[in-house]
Assembly symmetry: C2
Homo-oligomer: 340 residues x 2
C-alpha cells in the first residue's frame, strides 16, 4: 500500500552513502522523530530552503547537480553563521517516480553530505499523480557552534572593514550560459568554471568556522552583494562604502561579458554563496593568514560607516546607485525569496 514511498526512502535515501552515522545523531531515519545531541555547551543552528520545480529550478535541471546544489546552498547558511554541519532533513513531493532522477538526485546529495559530514536523518516523502502538485523539495540543515559565538548580521561596527571570499558574479554568468544568453564565444574551461559556480558553489563551512574568531558580522551572498549587504547594514544600524574596483572578478567572468555587466553581475547577480563579513582593521592580518591557511581567497572591498546608507566608490567618485536586480529567470521562474 504505502510501498512506493517507503521503497523510495529505502532505496534512494536511507542508504549508507546518505544516511550514514554521525556522533551527534542519536537516531536517524525510521521513527517519529530524528534525535540529535549537540555537544555540551553548543548552540544548534538551523536553516530551511523550499525549492519547487518551475519556480526555483527548471524541470530539465540535471538531478545530480540539483541534489548537490540544494544541499550546498543550505550549508552556506550554516557557514554564514560559523556553524559546523551536523545533519539535514529532506521533504520531497514527487508527482512522478523516476528512478533515474531519484538515483542521480540522491547521489548528488550524498556527495555533498559526505564531504561535509552531514548525513540525512529524516524528513517526509510523498508521491502524487503527475497532474497534482509540483516536484518540490525542502531541505533543513542543522549545525552547531559554541554558545555566544554565532556570526550574526547585527554586529557590524563603524570602521570595520568589509570582505568577501572567492569571486563574485560567476554564478549569474553560469546561469546566463545555461539559458543560452551568454558565453557563446567562451573557451570550454571557462564555460565549465562558470557553470560550476552556479551549480556547485564552494563550501565556505571551514571559512565560516574560522571567522568566528575574527568577524563582527557575516552573511552569505544568495541574492547579490547589494541586497545581502543591506541586511547586515540594517540589522547593525550602520552604513557602508564599497569600492567597485576592488570587487573580486574571475578571469572567466571577465572573458564572458562587457565590463559594465561584470560589475552588475558581481553586485546584484546573486547565487554566489560566498561569505561577506566585517571586522576591525586590527584583526585583518590574522584573519587573512587564517583564511590563507585554509586556501580561501578573501578580498577587502569596503568599509562600514556610522552613517546609514550604502555608497559605491568608482574612480574616486561616490554614488548611491540603486542596482537593477539582475534576476536570472523571468519573474515566474525565479521569485525573490525571503529567508526568515
Amino acid at each position: 500500500m504505502a510501498s512506493d514511498e517507503f521503497d523510495i526512502i529505502r532505496r534512494y535515501f536511507n542508504s549508507d552513502t546518505l544516511a550514514f552515522p554521525a556522533t551527534e545523531v542519536a537516531l536517524g531515519i525510521g521513527d517519529d522523530c530524528a534525535l540529535l545531541r549537540p555537544g555540551a555547551g553548543m548552540t544548534l543552528a538551523m536553516s530551511m530552503d523550499l525549492l519547487q520545480e518551475g519556480v526555483h529550478f527548471l524541470a530539465d535541471a540535471d538531478p545530480f547537480l540539483l541534489g548537490k546544489r540544494s544541499l550546498l546552498v543550505n550549508l552556506s547558511d550554516l557557514a554564514a553563521m560559523g556553524a559546523r554541519p551536523l545533519c539535514f532533513t529532506l521533504g520531497l513531493c514527487l508527482p512522478r517516480v523516476d528512478a533515474v532522477w531519484l538515483e542521480a538526485f540522491s547521489r548528488g546529495l550524498a556527495e555533498v553530505a559526505q564531504a561535509n559530514n552531514c548525513p540525512l536523518v529524516g524528513g517526509d516523502t510523498s508521491a502524487s499523480h503527475p497532474d497534482s502538485g509540483s516536484l518540490t523539495l525542502c531541505i533543513q540543515v542543522h549545525g552547531e557552534l559554541p554558545a555566544g559565538e554565532a556570526l550574526r548580521r547585527d554586529g557590524a561596527q563603524p570602521g570595520d572593514h568589509i570582505y568577501v571570499t572567492g569571486t563574485l558574479g560567476d554564478a549569474a554568468a553560469g546561469l546566463g550560459i545555461l539559458q543560452g544568453r551568454l558565453g557563446a564565444t567562451l573557451a570550454d574551461a571557462q564555460r565549465a568554471a562558470l557553470l560550476d559556480a552556479f551549480y556547485v558553489p564552494e563550501s565556505r563551512i571551514e571559512a565560516g568556522m574560522c571567522l568566528r574568531s575574527f568577524a563582527n558580522a557575516c552573511i552569505d551572498l544568495s541574492d547579490g552583494l547589494a541586497s545581502d549587504l543591506m541586511h547586515v547594514l540594517r540589522a547593525s544600524g550602520v552604513g557602508a562604502e564599497i569600492d567597485l574596483q576592488a570587487l573580486p572578478l574571475s578571469a572567466a567572468l571577465q572573458g564572458c561579458v562587457p565590463q559594465a555587466l561584470q560589475e552588475q553581475m558581481a553586485v546584484s547577480g546573486g547565487d554566489d554563496y560566498e561569505l561577506c563579513f566585517t571586522l576591525p582593521p586590527e584583526r585583518e592580518a590574522a584573519m587573512q593568514a587564517a583564511l590563507a591557511s585554509l586556501g580561501v581567497p578573501v578580498r577587502h572591498i569596503g568599509v562600514v560607516r556610522a552613517q546609514q546608507g550604502l555608497l559605491w566608490r568608482k574612480e574616486g567618485t561616490l554614488s548611491t546607485r540603486q542596482w537593477q536586480g539582475y534576476r536570472h529567470f523571468s519573474a515566474a521562474h525565479m521569485p525573490d525569496e525571503g529567508e526568515h
Copy 2:
C-alpha cells in the same frame, strides 16, 4: 524588489503572536540561521512534514483550520517521541499572495504555537506566479527530551499490553463529512465533533511526556492503527493481537456509519493522531493514574506477542485479516506518505 516576500514574513509570520520569545530560542527570524539551545543533557527531537495543495489538502481548505492542523500533526510526532516542543520552522511557496488566506493561516498556526509554547523561528518564503508551482508548506518541529528517554518504535516486548489514547476513526468520518459522503443525518454537535477530529486533532504532547516513565514503544496514528502498529511491530521484531471489540469508538462515529464501517475506520482510517503505545502489565495501573490526572482517555486494546504478525480478535475468533486501506481522497489527492 524582494519586498513582497519580506513584507509577507513581517506582516503574517514575524509577529508577536507567532514568533514569540522562548527560553531555548537564542535567535529567531531574521538571520542566516535560527539558533536553539536545548537544556543541558537534553536530546533534540525533530520531525518534518511537506504539504501541497491538491495533494495533501484541498484548494478550498479553510486556511485557519489548515494552519492549526498543519502544526498539530507535526507536534503529534514530538508527542509520539515523548518530547516537549521548543520551536518550529516554516517553508512556504505561494503562487498567489492572498492577504485573507495568509492572515487566517498564520492565525491558525499562532493559536497552536501559543498553546504548545512552540514559536516560529525561521524558514523560507517565496512568492511565484499562479501558473508556476503549487501552494506548498513545509513545517519542521523541534522538541527536547532527556537523553536516552525517547519513546522509540523499536522497544515493544512480548507480553506488553497495547494501548491507544482517545477514540479512533473520528477523523476519517470527519473527512467523509467534509466530502459530503457521510453524516447527512447527524446532529450538528456530532458533525462538529467529527469535523474537529479531522481538523484539530487533540494535542497529546503532555501524554507523550508522561509516557516516558512507562512505555516501551510508542507511535502516533497518522495512517491508521493497522498500518502504524505494524511499524512498531516490525521495528521491535514482535507481533501482536488486537481485540477489535475493545477499540475506543466515539458516540459520534457510532451514530454516523454502520458497525462494519466503524471498525474499518477505527483500524485503517488514519488521521486520528492519537498515541499507540506498549508497556508491561505491571506498569498499567500507574500509567492509567498518570494519564487520568492529565484528563487523557486511554484504552487497552491488545497484547504484544513474540511471534511476528498482527492478529485481530473478534467474538472469540482470531484472524490475520488484511484491512483495505480506507483512503480518503482519490489516489491523486491523498497519496500514502513515508515519514523518514
